[in-house]
């Protein structure tokens, strides 16, 4: 083990080194990652979804003060973004925190609708965060029971056409959640399902909804049997005839343990932690670990750490804007996000919980490093350097954030930079800092 391995572990698996961390981890980079998995992600103290959703439902019912309620929601979401960044820059288990971001992106909920706007962070903290080092089946179940997902992908307005509620209102199925569950969350687009499976899963999930103000315990998951499509459904060749909410629970269990799901998850993890186009052998290993342990994610991550491909070559991945910002704040030992940090994410095009589609943010260089995007990253580096030039020596920043991964050319230009401002901008713009 070495400083190189330590630096690599901190940038590839973690969220970027803070002052002195590369040296501190040089003796046990692998052990540190294993320890991250054992400790799991930090708990979050954010407000639960129920208060937020009830507030929304009440504001809608009152029909008044729409503008001020929206302004209140905007303030909440801004505070949520700050809190998310603060957790990432302060955490002592950055590998586990990276996994929270990875899985929140896998199960994307985006704030493009008023009901969902204020629920994205509670969703991440309640449905994703507690499960990132647990079993995939548990995370999937928590996600699909969460009001944010049921609202975001329209399941709350999907009715069994032959259910009592469907017959009375004339409303019918909405395939949105069922399709994305199969395509994005579990089997993957080539996972071997058909349009009939999408319809069957949509029928199975009819009635999975959210309680209204008049219901007991408003603003939480509620199964409405009156909206549930009666009759047998055939999903992936298996007949579901138990009726009621149990059908959905059984279907999720089937999807969570399916070999196509194992492969899909393995592929996404390998893309995130190895390379945009990861080697098939690595995907095979991770997929097998998933199947052997019935989706124990901790075991899958340990298999990942054991892969030589996860350690060589270095710096294969381009950092996303979130990664970039968090790595910079950690390198500067900033402890608290402010307005400027959120502005950075707006300018670089990745405000949390605003992914363009349910597929989430891209996880490859092509999605993040077009010519225009790079110019913005450089402009951002200059802006940050302008704020930091009196407080930070560029050579110290390079040592902290990049350490032994630096190239001779970058070292040469940073050492010879005509000003601290230009030196810091060079460090932040360098491929060694822009990559992980």
């Amino acid at each position: 083990m070495s400083r190189i391995d330590a630096a690599h572990a901190l940038v590839r698996f973690g969220l970027g080194p803070r002052t002195g961390e590369i040296d501190a981890l040089a003796a046990y980079p692998t052990g540190w990652l294993i320890e991250n998995i054992a400790r799991g992600a930090d708990r979050s103290s954010s407000v639960g979804h129920q208060d937020r959703l009830v507030a929304f439902l009440e504001a809608r019912e009152a029909g008044t003060a729409q503008t001020s309620f929206r302004e209140q929601v905007r303030r909440q979401v801004r505070a949520d973004v700050h809190q998310r960044i603060d957790t990432a820059i302060r955490t002592e288990t950055p590998f586990a925190e990276r996994l929270v971001h990875f899985w929140a992106n896998h199960f994307t909920v985006a704030v493009n609708r008023p009901q969902v706007t204020s629920l994205a962070k509670p969703f991440e903290d309640e449905a994703v965060r507690p499960h990132v080092t647990g079993r995939f089946a548990d995370m999937l179940s928590a996600v699909v029971h969460h009001p944010a997902m049921l609202l975001y992908l329209d399941n709350v307005i999907s009715f069994g056409p032959n259910s009592p509620a469907g017959r009375r209102t004339g409303r019918g199925l909405n395939e949105n959640l069922a399709r994305e569950l199969l395509e994005l969350h579990t089997l993957g687009v080539d996972g071997g399902y058909t349009q009939d499976d999408v319809i069957a899963l949509a029928q199975i999930l009819t009635g999975w909804s959210v309680s209204r103000l008049r219901d007991p315990d408003p603003g939480t998951f509620r199964y409405h049997d009156l909206a549930h499509e009666p009759g047998d459904k055939v999903l992936l060749g298996q007949t579901f005839s138990q009726g009621g909410q149990a059908e959905g629970e059984a279907a999720l269990a089937l999807l969570a343990s399916h070999p196509s799901t194992a492969r899909h998850i393995a592929t996404k993890l390998a893309r995130h932690f190895i390379a945009d186009d990861p080697p098939t052998s690595a995907i095979d290993t991770l997929s097998q670990a998933f199947l052997d342990t019935d989706g124990d994610l901790a075991a899958v991550y340990r298999a990942l750490i054991d892969l030589p491909e996860a350690w060589q070559p270095h710096l294969t991945k381009v950092r996303t804007p979130n990664d970039l910002l968090i790595a910079a704040l950690r390198a500067f030992d900033v402890r608290e996000a402010d307005e400027r940090t959120a502005a950075t994410l707006r300018l670089l095009g990745q405000v949390p919980w605003t992914a363009p589609s349910p597929a989430g943010w891209p996880d490859d260089a092509a999605g993040w490093l077009g010519p225009e995007a790079l110019m913005r990253r450089i402009d951002w580096s200059v802006a940050v350097a302008g704020l930091a030039e009196r407080a930070m020596d560029p050579r110290r920043l390079l040592e902290t954030a990049v350490g032994p991964l630096v190239s001779a050319t970058t070292q040469f230009h940073v050492d010879g930079a005509p000003s601290a401002l230009e030196g810091i901008a060079l460090v932040l713009s360098s491929p060694e800092f822009q990559r992980r």
Partner: protein
């Protein structure tokens, strides 16, 4: 100016590499083309049946239920095209072009994709293949390599380069920035720092060139006034760059907002808003492209259509065939090109979607053949591999 020369040298070197990797027979004469092409990709699956409305189809009204639009001449009625089809009333500009012979509509078209994933659907539309995953790059990039020349002809308007423009041939991308710009000496140092990293090296070279062109095209003004206004300014700048003397000739614009699962509406609602936005962008494009309008073709396509019947929430779900447009001064328009399959229950694809009767690649091939003179042989084997069975639509331009 020194910098501009240096950038030209770099761009030329990169071009030489890409062209060298291709069969020499594909490289046409070196003269840069004056023909303009704008590809507008409507991401999310545009509902063809509410955009180019088959109002005279006997099954249209009963199948579409609440989403059916009124016939021409009625309140909120469609804008008539040919006595059978009508345009959604939000498409005022496009209808005006149609009447002047500057636009044509296609219907019941689809890419070879027959599943219903947005992401795969867009990938196949942009790759130009018969099957998913066989091409890592886009058909417009391959077309650019056949057109050849030293100048970078392709322009992606937006922060990332869409698949249709990705590939061996270098292209430009541009989007406005609200940050102060880095100064030249830093950029020169970075060019050296990036020398060993081709991804960063090439992106920087292109980014600098695009910034210079955009600086002259839009006079460094900042977008103001919300998303639609920002979007219109993107159209202005794209048009400005396309008309610049040494600027790009082929631009790709993305337009999101078409995935109308809920409250799609007729003359109000999600689809009407998206169509109104598109119509405004088209009007601004034409205003900016006025000097080159007779040389201009605009292709407007989406990854797939939507279900014929409304879903349970006043919207439509992912479907198959849909409508597309070809517009611009170079187009022989004023007609609807469609082998209409009908909407009768036994005529629908999988009993839910408009059945495809034409391959959208026929449109792409037709434009590349008639607008840019690309040889059939290259179109069938290289730009759209294994597409000999898909005949280019002729006399489009």
């Amino acid at each position: 100016m020194v910098d501009l020369t240096r950038r030209h040298l770099l761009a030329g070197a990169a071009c030489g590499l890409a062209v060298g990797a291709l069969p020499t027979r594909l490289v046409l004469a070196n003269a840069p083309t004056e023909k303009r092409l704008v590809l507008v990709i409507l991401r999310g699956g545009m509902d063809g049946l509410s955009t180019v409305v088959p109002y005279a189809d006997p099954d249209y009204r009963s199948l579409r239920e609440d989403l059916a639009l009124a016939p021409p001449g009625r309140e909120d009625g469609v804008l008539d095209l040919d006595g059978f089809f009508g345009l959604h009333p939000a498409l005022i500009t496009l209808h005006d072009w149609y009447r002047r012979g500057d636009a044509l509509a296609l219907h019941a078209v689809a890419s070879p994709y027959r599943e219903r994933s947005h992401f795969d659907g867009q990938d196949l539309l942009e790759a130009g293949d018969s099957r998913l995953g066989s091409s890592p790059d886009g058909w417009l990039n391959r077309a650019l390599s056949v057109i050849g020349g030293e100048q970078r002809l392709g322009l992606a308007v937006g922060q990332s380069v869409p698949l249709v423009l990705r590939g061996e041939t270098p292209v430009m991308s541009w989007a406005p920035s609200a940050l102060p710009s880095a100064d030249l000496s830093l950029l020169d140092r970075l060019a050296d720092v990036y020398a060993g990293d081709p991804l960063f090296r090439d992106a920087l070279a292109e980014g600098r060139r695009a910034n210079m062109l955009a600086g002259t095209a839009m006079g460094d003004t900042e977008p103001a006034g919300g998303r639609q206004e920002a979007y219109l300014q993107l159209a202005d700048t794209a048009a400005g760059m396309l008309t610049a003397e040494d600027g790009p000739r082929i631009a790709v614009l993305d337009a999101p907002g078409w995935d109308t699962h809920i409250a799609q509406g007729t003359v109000n609602g999600a689809l009407s808003r998206a169509l109104g936005g598109l119509d405004a962008v088209l009007a601004r494009l034409k205003a900016g492209l006025t000097p080159v309008w007779p040389e201009t073709a605009i292709i407007i396509v989406t990854e797939f259509g939507r279900t014929v019947r409304p879903n349970g929430s006043g919207g439509t779900d992912h479907g198959t065939a849909t409508a597309a447009f070809l517009a611009g001064g170079a187009v022989a328009g004023g007609r609807v090109v469609a082998d209409w399959p009908g909407l009768g229950t036994n005529r629908l694809y999988e009993d839910r979607d408009l059945a495809p009767t034409a391959d959208i690649r026929a449109l792409f091939k037709g434009v590349l053949a008639s607008h840019y003179g690309l040889p059939t042989r290259d179109l069938e084997r290289f730009v759209f591999p294994d597409s000999a069975g898909v005949r280019a639509l002729d006399a489009l331009v």
